[in-house]
Amino acid sequence: MVSKLSVRVAGLHLEHPVMNASGILGATPEHIERLASYGFSAIVTKTITPQPREGNPPPIIVEIPNIGLLNAVGLANPGKNIVPKLVEVSKRLGKPIVISVGGSTPSEFLEVASIAEEAGADAIELNLSCPHAKGYGIEIGSDPYQSYEVVKTVANSVKIPTIAKLGLCDRIVEVASKVLEAGAKGLTLINTVRAMVIDVMTARPVLSNVFGGLSGPAIHPIAVRVVYEVYRELRPEIIGCGGVVDWVTAAELILAGARAVQVGTALMWKENIVYDVLIGLRRLIEHFGVRSIEDLVGYSHRV
């Protein structure tokens, strides 16, 4: 049964295709332990930058009923020295660990990536897509050439797989193609989408940062489209992310071309989501009469 669900993606061998999305916990050893208890097949850390970051003052989230969540945590993290401790807990719990790496220059990305490799992490996910931290994330990731530089710098120097996490932008296929050329073994698609909420009683933007990133059900169809389009054009190894709230939303990303999926926002409502997804995916394998979940990757392109 287990093997039907096992997948390989970007050099990782996973017991099943459901990992957590970066930034939902994942910044302390205690967080890693909690994420492991949710049943994920691999743990992705919060994005770690070389120096500690305080992040934004609250309000940092706004929940929008039935739509999703707006957040502007602001890449709050304890800095690179935490990395070995995060790796250690994950290893003790027998889970592969992906260190999400952030930076504002290629050398900053490399600084954290090198520590991750040395500490024994299984892969690195480069955050080229956070939409609400000035000088980070999508500000680099929406430019194919800057993205290329970051990925090349890291992929040239570290031996563990480099995954590039990209966000919604007009030139997504071009960026994807550039980062693969630069040596990325896989892509995580997508991050949150830049958005805002205004409180009508006071006319003020709610988030202290004004803009935040939208996640959850609202962005799921966008994620499906991006995964589908990038898979169609480039056939890379993709980890799908955005609005996975049950097995159906996970399955859509897989059928569109993702080899694995990540779950973020849904954990706020459903801490046992992993099992729900796995039960559903097993049924889908039977439904299509295929051998394993890997046979369903990109299936929508073949029917």
Partner: protein, 245 residues
């Protein structure tokens, strides 16, 4: 204003809470354009009137204290798990330190509804931080004892010292302590010797209040204060309390 730097605010919710809050649950109070802060629910009436009691600490609480009647605030909640009252509790001791008094009115009311006798022990630094408890309690505790660190009112010493000198811990079915972390640590360490595992209502830094940002984590534990707490057993948070110096 209730006392030096301590305020009570009554807030009218545009939409009442979906469910009646449990003791120790909290809300996120947004002072528009300033910041959002966690505040315990002191009292709540079903028509949507929420009472909070707070002490001025920094910019946020300062601003909250200075806004006028009729101002608009944002409220998210009730958040956290709250204290589940056990049917076998017949008599409960509540130890409150300083502004730890804030959640006690809701707690006393809930215990009273369950037919439980409540004894409140309240400690403050000095007399000017005390106020008339009738101003915040809807249901009154069956017994109230007060201490000040400097002896300017009531018993001279900490609330734990007060409790130990005037009450017998073994005559209670539960002990619930609320206050600053050093006080909670002292209570837990003292009771540990007596093989009692009291409940403590704690504070850590709460930013999202929904279990996703991780800022409120309990050190040495997989628990998150905002969704698993803020009430814990001493045994669950001892490592955290000890690691704070």
């Amino acid at each position: 204003m209730l006392a030096n730097g301590i305020y009570l605010a009554k807030l009218r919710l545009v939409e009442p809470f979906e469910s009646y809050p449990s003791p120790a649950q909290f809300v996120m109070v947004w002072v528009p354009g300033v910041k959002e802060m966690p505040m315990s629910i002191s009292h709540y009436s079903c028509d949507g009137e929420l009472t909070i009691v707070f002490r001025v600490r920094g910019v946020g609480t300062q601003k909250l204290a200075s806004i006028g009647i009729g101002s608009v605030l944002g409220i998210r909640g009730p958040l956290g798990k709250g204290i589940a009252i056990r049917p076998e509790w017949k008599r409960v001791a509540i130890l409150a330190g300083g502004i730890g008094i804030a959640p006690t009115p809701l707690l006393v009311s809930a215990l009273t509804v369950h037919g439980c006798e409540t004894h409140l022990f309240w400690g403050a630094k000095t007399r000017s931080e005390l106020f008339d408890l009738d101003k915040i309690f809807v249901d009154k505790p069956d017994r109230i004892e007060i201490s000040t660190d400097d002896g300017s009112y009531g018993f001279r010493g900490t609330v734990l010292e007060l409790f130990k000198s005037v009450a017998n811990v073994h005559s209670y079915d539960a002990v619930i302590a609320i206050g600053p972390n050093p006080m909670l640590r002292a209570v837990c360490e003292d009771m540990e010797l007596k093989r009692i595992d009291p409940m403590v209502v704690m504070e850590t830094i709460v930013k999202c209040g929904r279990g996703i940002c991780g800022s409120c984590y309990i050190r040495g534990s997989t628990k998150l204060l905002c969704i698993d707490g803020p009430a814990f057993r001493c045994s669950e948070v001892m490592h955290h309390l000890r690691s704070l110096d």
